[in-house]
């Protein structure tokens, strides 16, 4: 009896689990289209009439265009810096395993565990004139993504044959040409994985701007949403619309890149 019940029962369980996981996103979506009184209870009911104007209100009042552009700027440039430099370092450390390089590898991936000291980091940002600047937050984000990026790339390097390096050098390539012309194209899968994970981490972060960006014109979307929530707490339809616009890029990247995200997680943590 159990044999025949087993598959349907498993599907029901998996379906319920999936439902519990997506209800909040559903809740935000339907309430983003309601009027303020209708959204006040944040129910799962569908809107009685569609208020697409909520989005226009939010974009204007929440200064979403500026914060969207800030988020895009921070996430894309910091991702690019972290991913590229981590690939170069992982390549050199993985290929040339001297004592120093082994030590540096462990030293760098130790950053996966380390907390940030915000007090002394503030002083550092002041001394380097990076505090409250866009460049500062970009470099900070890039630094934060380095340890994990190096960790997932280091293991991947061994799948690229060393003979390629030798052949390229014999053909007259310098180290930079070898890396950019020969190695980098072969790293594409791991670059995409690291790139997506870094981008999402930075896009979703709100702690760094909370500490290090005081001017609202520099705020990314997460901090803008939090601030908007503070001002419009009673208008859940607007808050929902604001949240929805913030997470649409995240969900889009996730759905398009889920294959790479899941591959990166499992190669990084289970297979090494």
């Amino acid at each position: 009896m159990w044999r025949y019940m087993r598959a349907p029962a498993a599907h029901i369980a998996a379906f319920l689990a999936s439902l519990i996981m997506i209800i909040p996103v559903y809740l935000i979506t339907v309430n983003a289209l309601k009027s303020t009184p209708e959204a006040s209870s944040m129910s799962i009911a569908l809107p009685s009439e569609l208020h697409f104007d909520n989005f226009l209100i939010v974009i204007e009042k929440g200064k979403l265009v500026t914060s969207f552009l800030n988020s895009v700027l921070y996430a894309s440039t910091a991702t690019l810096i972290a991913t590229l430099f981590s690939a170069m370092a992982a390549f050199a450390m993985s290929r040339r395993r001297t004592r120093l390089n082994r030590f540096l590898y462990f030293f760098l991936i130790m950053g996966i565990a380390l907390p940030i000291n915000f007090f002394t980091l503030t002083t550092m940002m002041q001394v380097t004139h990076l505090i409250n600047t866009k460049l500062g937050i970009i470099l900070l984000y890039a630094a934060l993504q380095v340890p994990f990026s190096i960790f997932i790339m280091y293991g991947f390097m061994e799948s690229i044959p060393r003979e390629l390096d030798e052949a390229a050098i014999i053909d007259g390539c310098g180290p930079l040409q070898l890396f950019f012309r020969v190695i980098l194209p072969l790293l594409k899968p791991v670059l995409v994985t690291a790139g997506i994970l870094n981008f999402l981490n930075i896009w979703n972060d709100f702690m760094m701007p909370l500490y290090y960006l005081n001017s609202s014109s520099n705020w990314p979307m997460t901090l803008a949403v939090y601030n908007f929530f503070g001002q419009y707490q009673s208008s859940w339809n607007l808050v929902s619309a604001d949240i929805l616009l913030t997470i649409i890029p995240v969900i889009a990247i996730y759905l398009l890149g889920q294959r790479f995200i899941l591959a990166g997680l499992t190669s990084g943590s289970v297979k090494g």
Binding site: A17, M21, M42, F85, F91, R95, A113, I150, I169
Partner: protein, 292 residues
């Protein structure tokens, strides 16, 4: 000599500069400043010995409570995420034959959402009066269970733990699912022929074979739990009272109040704990047998 030419040291310099500037130098100099009275009120910084640490460890202050809350949060999120993550991984690995990837994509979805957004949504869902959870409990006749989730100091911490676990289960599930898929099917077949029942197969094949993945999952959860900030800051900001205050939210409060010496002492305690944890993490990750 030759390999130094092909793989030059300057390939590593850019990340080293970033890492030293933003991680290592601040953390190490923070240990020095935790022995001072550094604050935003005075330009002078004086060495005061262990005064900050005495204050943190004194029973008259609340700091021991924040440390306790941090451990409580870490402990329960590990238990909940691992138990539910493992149950879902088993479900997708053995129970369900079709749509596995579809379920996996949906269950993983909360992981990619910003903590801030999750916290704001759950502030509505857990609203005591008209929140979705309590409305649902009333509708199915379990009105007695409809509690003031984030308002009652006795249960607020557990509500926060619940929300955080909800968000993190998918991540743990994906790692454990990958671990399950590496266990050869013939082990189970052989055990079945020898008369092992489902529990025995789980206990004597699945769990031992899954141990490396379970260890990884646990250390990742430890590292996350000890540093948790976003979800608590945006859900309760440490309240009601100090019921959900953890080390990172307290560090932010010390930062806002300008108590830099005291705050950096708290941060240094966290740093030392995490260096030790990090050492074990690295040892563990390096010992993975099937490392490519």
């Amino acid at each position: 000599m030759r390999s130094r030419g092909i793989y030059p040291f300057y390939f590593i310099i850019a990340v080293l500069v970033l890492y030293l500037t933003f991680f290592i130098i601040p953390s190490l100099s923070g240990i020095y400043f935790s022995f001072t009275d550094w604050s935003s009120y005075s330009d002078e910084i004086n060495f005061i010995g262990f005064e900050n640490f005495e204050k943190i460890l004194s029973p008259d202050e609340n700091y021991l409570g924040y440390i306790w809350n941090t451990f409580l949060f870490t402990f329960w999120t590990i238990i909940l995420k691992t138990v539910f993550g493992l149950a879902l991984a088993l479900l997708l690995n053995e129970g369900v034959k079709r749509f596995v990837n579809g379920y996996r994509v949906l269950i993983y979805l909360p992981v990619v959402l910003p903590y801030l957004v999750v916290a704001l949504i759950f502030r509505s869902i857990l609203h005591p009066g008209n929140g979705l959870l309590n409305t649902f409990l009333h509708d199915i006749g379990l009105g007695a269970l409809a509690l003031p989730w984030l308002i009652d100091p006795r249960i607020a911490m557990y509500s926060v733990i619940g929300v955080d676990s909800w968000k993190g289960i998918g991540y743990i599930m994906v790692i454990l699912l990958a671990g399950l898929q590496t266990i050869p099917k013939d082990y189970y077949e052989a055990a079945q022929i020898d008369g092992a029942n489902a529990w025995h197969r789980f206990r004597y094949i699945t769990i031992p074979m899954l141990m490396p993945a379970l260890m990884i999952v646990t250390v990742l959860n430890v590292l996350y739990g000890l540093r948790v900030f976003d979800i608590i800051y945006a859900l309760t900001n440490g309240g009601p009272g100090y019921a959900t205050e953890v080390l990172s939210t307290e560090i932010f409060k010390a930062f806002s109040k300008g108590q830099f010496g005291l705050g950096t002492a708290v941060a240094s305690i966290l740093f030392v704990i995490l260096v030790i944890a990090g050492y074990f993490v690295i040892r563990l990750m390096e010992r993975q047998p099937d490392r490519q």
